[in-house]
């Protein structure tokens, strides 16, 4: 018995150390590359040298801000992300309300159809849209990009909207109407507040995905409307310097702001509960 428990204990020690080692290495692997990028963005050298930077400066940021194509594509990306968020949240919230209103024939199929853009590789969506929109005669770059981004972000809004309505009691709306509220009043003062967490989570995901997308935008961008990630990717392939690290720091800062807003308004536990990471 004693030998058995001793081997058991040493087995545990080995297994435990192994598990903690994997967890530690995993976290380091996630964090270190991002930390290096942040550090290198402030490198005072004018070339890509080994770590650590001998001095810090903001010159990579200055150089980034002096590139006209970066600035114009940043503007395009921001306008596009705002428009995408507004459209996707409106369309997605409405669809979630419609799907949550009782059972009807074809409900399951419609739900799957609404979520199906999530399972199609983004490159296929981008290439498909490129061919189709050229044939349909839609040549405006911004319009093409907007359609592509709404297609991939609206499913997130539908999903988070549905998840937030899942626990909501339909009778609350009925009660409001029995008490004299019109249908419209009941919708705006009961249904929408109930969906608050879902709408906010969906909006933040839509904004972030639209700001970051490369696979779809690369096909749909044209000289009049090019997004920031597309410009960065072509810069990255042309020359590997640290202006991109500076851009990465700025994009990371935007994401962190979004995340803080998300935590304040919704809470991370609720975000995980929205079904975005359902197994």
């Amino acid at each position: 018995m004693s030998t058995h428990s001793r081997t058991a204990r040493s087995g545990d020690r080995v297994a435990g150390a192994l598990a903690y080692g994997v967890v530690g290495l995993g976290l380091a692997f996630l964090a270190i590359p991002l930390a290096i990028t942040c550090l290198m963005a402030f490198d005072a050298r004018t070339f890509l040298g080994p770590l650590p930077p001998p001095a810090l400066s903001l010159h990579w940021f200055e150089r980034l801000a002096s590139q006209a194509d970066i600035l114009s594509s940043l503007r395009t990306s921001l306008v596009l992300a705002v428009l995408t968020t507004i459209l996707s949240v409106s369309i997605g919230t409405a669809a979630a309300v419609g799907l949550a209103r009782g059972d009807f024939p074809g409900k399951g199929i419609l739900t799957s159809a609404f979520l199906s853009p999530l399972i199609v590789p983004p490159v296929v969506i981008g290439f498909g849209l490129l061919l189709f929109l050229s044939k349909a005669g839609i040549t405006n770059g911004m319009a093409r990009l907007l359609l592509g981004h709404v297609i991939v972000t609206a499913p997130y809004c539908i999903r988070t909207g549905l998840a937030s309505l899942l626990g909501a009691d339909r009778r609350l709306t009925d009660a409001a109407m029995i008490l004299g509220a019109t249908e419209r009043q009941a919708f705006w003062s009961i249904t929408i507040p109930l969906m608050k967490t879902g709408i906010i989570t969906g909006a933040i995901f839509a904004f972030a995905i639209s700001m970051d997308d490369v696979s779809i935008s690369l096909f749909l961008s044209d000289p009049s409307a090019t997004t920031l990630p597309v410009t960065l990717v072509s810069n990255m392939r042309a020359a590997f310097d640290l202006t991109i690290a500076a851009a990465a720091v700025i994009l990371m800062a935007v994401t962190v702001v979004l995340i803080v807003v998300l935590d304040r308004l919704v809470g991370f536990d609720n975000v995980v509960g929205q079904g975005l990471f359902r197994s």
């Binding site: 204990r9 967890v23 409405a94 296929v124 994009l251 998300l262 197994s279």
Partner: protein
Amino acid sequence: MTNARQQTAAISISDRRDRAITLAPAVLVLAFGFLSPLINLAIESLKEFTPGRVGSVENAATTVQNYHELANQAFANVLLTTFWIGGVAALVGQLVAFPLAYFIVRRLSPRMRTLALGFLITLVLSSVLIKTYAIELTFGSVGILRPLLLTVGLSANSREYINIVVIAGLVHSIIPVATLTLMGAMQSIDPRLLDAAQSLGAPGWKAHLSITLPLSLPALVSSTLISLTFAISAFVIPMVLGRGRVLFMSNVIYTRFSDIANYPSGAAISLVMLATALAVISVITLAHAWKSRR
């Protein structure tokens, strides 16, 4: 009685009208921006390609040539690369995500747990471009992990080195999503089961092997497949980190568009890729059906 029936009828009519109004925008956008392009891709993939023309000719002949051309060694290699690199990345991702999810769910204080969740969600929402660039900086010519790989005896220009960097790029994106997916399953495992096993004399590792692992197996299977779908449709990661030597299916679609403007062939590859993605997804659906039957 009649009154009541009329009431129900009135409600259901208004419900039906509301449903039509609320669902119409999504249906229209989906039909125009998603279904029509996919149907058009299928049609285009059967069109004859005329070299030197952008897109297929107006009344191009119907042909299966574009698919037939894919039955060669070069495309088979692309398919194979996509799957083996994607598969390795998906598995390595689970190997890290599984203990990480357990650690976050069971070993952290609520405060640290929120912090860890915030970190993971930040990673999920950060641009794939940032992550790819960060990996390139870490493994690239001045990267801190480069000496490590060089001591193992890999030359920085070898195919193996590039494969490892692409896998690292994919794993970096897979770990956060897989961890968040697995955490749900871990949370629903009753911690008293482990306590019971251990107080009955089972060593900790054995208790995990016979309780934690089997109970989270369905989640692990779907997490693996979700990671695999992500990996095989990856585009930016192999494009930037693969330096043109590691080509995934998505990269070939892009070259068909950007370099040689062979749209019909690009459409055929898109359909092959779509079919592959759907095949993996249907395995997930089957796994779910199997899980709920048990």
